[in-house]
C-alpha cells in the first residue's frame, strides 16, 4: 500500500472542488490557485516517476480490500510515464489558458482540473470497470471544455463528439459485461490469470468482448474508420483545450498497450495477441488518411488536428507488430508527438490572433506583428512533427523504423512512414510559406502584443522537442525498461499476492 498513488487523483479533485465554489472570486485568485494545483500535480507525478524507476509495482487498494475483490490503483513505469507526460502538457496548456482563454466561463479551471483527474485515474487504475469510469470522468469534462468559449461553430462538432463517445461507452459496457460473464472478474491482473483458462463456448464470448473493447479504444485513439470526428472537433476547440486534447487520443493508445499486452498478451493461450493482426493495416491506413487530410487542410488548426491522426497511425503500427524494441520506440515517439502537436495548436492560435479576419486559414494576409518569433516556433514544431533531423520526431521515427523485423511488415511500415513523412513535410512547408512569407499590403487592426504567458507556454512546448533530443539517452533507457516491464506480465500478477495493511495500523 502506497498512499502517494492517490495524489495525482486527489490533487486535481480537491483543486477542482475549490474552483467550483469560487466561480465569483476574483479571476487572479482563481488563476493562482488553479496553476498552483497543476504545479502540485506535476510535483506529485515526478515523485511517482522516481518511485516507479526501480522496476517494482506499487499498489493502492481502496478500502484495504485484497485484490481482486476491491478496486486497485497500480503504479508501474508505463503509468508513471503517462502521468508525467500529461502533467507537463497540462501545466503549459494551463499557463497559456490564463493568458486570456479562460475568460468567458467561470468554470473553465474546474473542468480543466477534472479532466486531469479523469486522465490520471485512467492511467493508474488496475481495474477494467474503473477504467470505464475514468473514461466517463474525462469525457464529461472534455465535453464542457470543447464547448468552452462559446461561438456557434462549436455546437455541431461538439454534438457529434458527444454522441459518438456515448455510443462508445455503451459498447465499452457491453464488452466489459461479456468478459465478466465468463471470467467473473474485472481486475486486470486477475483477468490475465483467468483468460488463459477460458475454454469451450466461453472462449468466443471473451473473444467478442475483447474485440469490442478494441473498437472502443480505437474510437478513443481515433483509428480509422473511427477518426473522422476528430479534425473538426479539435480545430474548433479553444487553443489550450485543443492542446490538452492532444493527450486524449493517447489514452486510447495507453489502454490498448495496457489491456492487450497484459490480458491478451503472449501468455493468453488461445486468445493471445487478439486483434493485433487487424490493428497493423488499420494503423497504416490511418497514417495515410492523416497525411491526405493534412495536405488538404485549409487552415492551420485543421492541419495540426490531422497531425494528431498521423501520430496515432505511427504509434499504433509498431505497437501492433508487438516487438519490445517497437514498443519502446513508440513510447519515445509518444512523448515527442504529444508535446509537439500541443505546441503547434498554441502557435496556430497565436498566428490566428495576429491576422485579423484571415485567422488561421492558409491564405495570404497582411504581415503579422510578431512574424519572426511565430515563424520560428512554427518551423521548430513542423520539423519535429514531420520528423526531420535534428529534432525529436526524427529520432523517434528512426527508432520505430529500426525496430521493425525484416519481412513484409517491415516493407509496409517503412514505406508508409517514410512516404507519409515526405508528404507531411510538403503540407507543412506549403502552409508555412503561405502564412508567413506571402504577405500582402493591407491594414489590419493592431493586435494586442503577445503576453509573456502565452509566448512562454507555446515556446516551451515546442522547445521540448529540443529537450527530448538533449535527454534522449535517459529517456530511451526509461522507455526500454518500460517496454521490458510490459513484456513481463508476471510482475503485474504479483499485486494479487501483495499483503494488505493489517487492521489497526
Amino acid at each position: 500500500m502506497n498512499h502517494w498513488l492517490t495524489a495525482p487523483i486527489l490533487i486535481p479533485l480537491l483543486g477542482g472542488i475549490l474552483q467550483v465554489f469560487m466561480g465569483y472570486a476574483p479571476i487572479s485568485l482563481r488563476r493562482t490557485l488553479a496553476i498552483a494545483t497543476t504545479v502540485l500535480l506535476l510535483v506529485s507525478t515526478i515523485v511517482l516517476l522516481v518511485l516507479a524507476n526501480d522496476d517494482s509495482y506499487r499498489l493502492y487498494a481502496f478500502g484495504n480490500w485484497q485484490p481482486p475483490f476491491g478496486i486497485v490503483l497500480v503504479l508501474d513505469r508505463l503509468a508513471a510515464l503517462m502521468l508525467v507526460l500529461t502533467a507537463i502538457l497540462a501545466l503549459f496548456c494551463h499557463i497559456f489558458a490564463i493568458g486570456g482563454a479562460d475568460e468567458g466561463n467561470r468554470q473553465f479551471h474546474t473542468l480543466f482540473l477534472f479532466q486531469l483527474m479523469g486522465l490520471n485515474i485512467a492511467f493508474l487504475t488496475g481495474d477494467l470497470f474503473n477504467l470505464f469510469v475514468a473514461f466517463e470522468v474525462l469525457l464529461i469534462a472534455s465535453y464542457g471544455l470543447l464547448m468552452h468559449g462559446g461561438g456557434t461553430a462549436r455546437t455541431v462538432p461538439g454534438l457529434h463528439y458527444v454522441v459518438l463517445n456515448l455510443v462508445g461507452s455503451a459498447v465499452f459496457l457491453i464488452s466489459v459485461g461479456m468478459i465478466y460473464s465468463v471470467t467473473g472478474t474485472l481486475n486486470m491482473a486477475d483477468l490475465a490469470v483467468k483468460i488463459p483458462q477460458v475454454s469451450g463456448e466461453g472462449l468466443n464470448l471473451v473473444k467478442a468482448g475483447g474485440m469490442m473493447l478494441l473498437v472502443v479504444f480505437a474510437l478513443k485513439a481515433a483509428l480509422i474508420p473511427l477518426c473522422f470526428w476528430l479534425p473538426k472537433a479539435y480545430a474548433r476547440a479553444t487553443a489550450p483545450v485543443a492542446a490538452l486534447f492532444a493527450v486524449m487520443t493517447k489514452v486510447g493508445i495507453y489502454a490498448i498497450l495496457r489491456v492487450y499486452l497484459l490480458v491478451f498478451g503472449d501468455s493468453a493461450g488461445e486468445l493471445a495477441n487478439l486483434g493485433m493482426d487487424w490493428l497493423f493495416p488499420l494503423a497504416l491506413i490511418t497514417l495515410a488518411m492523416g497525411v491526405i487530410g493534412a495536405l488538404g487542410a485549409d487552415n492551420l488548426k485543421t492541419l495540426v488536428a490531422w497531425q494528431v491522426i498521423i501520430s496515432v497511425g505511427t504509434l499504433l503500427a509498431p505497437i501492433a507488430l508487438g516487438s519490445e524494441a517497437g514498443i519502446s520506440a513508440a513510447l519515445f515517439y509518444l512523448l515527442s508527438t504529444t508535446w509537439t502537436v500541443a505546441g503547434l495548436f498554441l502557435v496556430a492560435e497565436l498566428v490566428a490572433n495576429q491576422r485579423g479576419t484571415a485567422g488561421d486559414r492558409i491564405v495570404t494576409a497582411p504581415k503579422m506583428r510578431n512574424r519572426t518569433f511565430l515563424s520560428v516556433l512554427f518551423l521548430i514544431g513542423a520539423v519535429a512533427a514531420a520528423g526531420l533531423p535534428p529534432l525529436s520526431g526524427f529520432f523517434a521515427k528512426l527508432l520505430i523504423l529500426k525496430s521493425a523485423v525484416p519481412g513484409t511488415d517491415m516493407a509496409w511500415l517503412w514505406s508508409a512512414i517514410l512516404i507519409g513523412s515526405f508528404f507531411t513535410v510538403i503540407a507543412y512547408s506549403r502552409a508555412g510559406s503561405i502564412v508567413f512569407w506571402r504577405t500582402v499590403e493591407g491594414h489590419i487592426e493592431k493586435p494586442k502584443p503577445l503576453s509573456s504567458n502565452v509566448s512562454v507556454a507555446a515556446g516551451t512546448l515546442v522547445a521540448l522537442s529540443v529537450v527530448i533530443v538533449a535527454l534522449a539517452g535517459p529517456i530511451s533507457d526509461y522507455t526500454d525498461a518500460t517496454a521490458a516491464q510490459l513484456f513481463n506480465p508476471g510482475g503485474y500478477l504479483q499485486i494479487l499476492d501483495m499483503p494488505m495493511t493489517p487492521e489497526g495500523k
Binding site: 455546437t155 458527444v162 454522441v163 456515448l166
Partner: protein
C-alpha cells in the same frame, strides 16, 4: 425467462440503433437512452439470471452475484448524467442553427452561416 430477457435486450438495442441513425437530434437522444437501457439490462444478466436469490451469502438457500448490480448502478448514474448533457446540447444546437438536424442544417444546404459569423464577429 432467458428468452424473454434476451428478446427485450434485442428489441431495445435494435430500436435504439434505428433511432440513433436518424438525422434529427431528438430521435438520437431517445435512441441513446434506449441503448443505455439495453446495456444496463445486459450488464445485469452477466451475473446469470436467478429468482428468489439475494446477493448475500447465507441469507437464502441460493445467492446471486452482487457485482453486476453494483456495475449497473454505476452505469445508470453515469448514463443519466450523460443523457442530461446531451439533451442540453441538442437544445443548444436547435437554438444556434434553427434546425434540429445533427449537422446543423439539411444535407442540400451547404452554406455554413455559423462559421462566417464567428470570423467576422471578431
Amino acid at each position: 425467462m432467458e428468452l424473454l430477457f434476451a428478446l427485450t435486450i434485442g428489441v431495445l438495442t435494435a430500436s435504439g440503433v434505428y433511432l440513433l441513425l436518424r438525422a434529427r437530434t431528438f430521435p438520437v437522444v431517445v435512441g441513446l437512452t434506449l441503448i443505455s437501457y439495453a446495456v444496463n439490462l445486459f450488464l445485469f444478466s452477466t451475473g446469470r439470471l436467478a429468482t428468489g436469490a439475494q446477493p448475500i451469502i447465507g441469507s437464502t438457500g441460493s445467492y446471486t452475484d452482487p457485482l453486476p448490480q453494483a456495475l449497473v448502478l454505476t452505469a445508470i448514474v453515469i448514463g443519466f448524467a450523460m443523457t442530461a448533457f446531451v439533451v442540453v446540447l441538442s437544445l443548444r444546437n436547435l437554438a444556434d442553427n434553427d434546425d434540429d438536424h445533427v449537422d446543423g442544417h439539411q444535407g442540400n444546404d451547404h452554406s455554413q452561416p455559423d462559421q462566417s459569423k464567428e470570423v467576422t464577429g471578431k
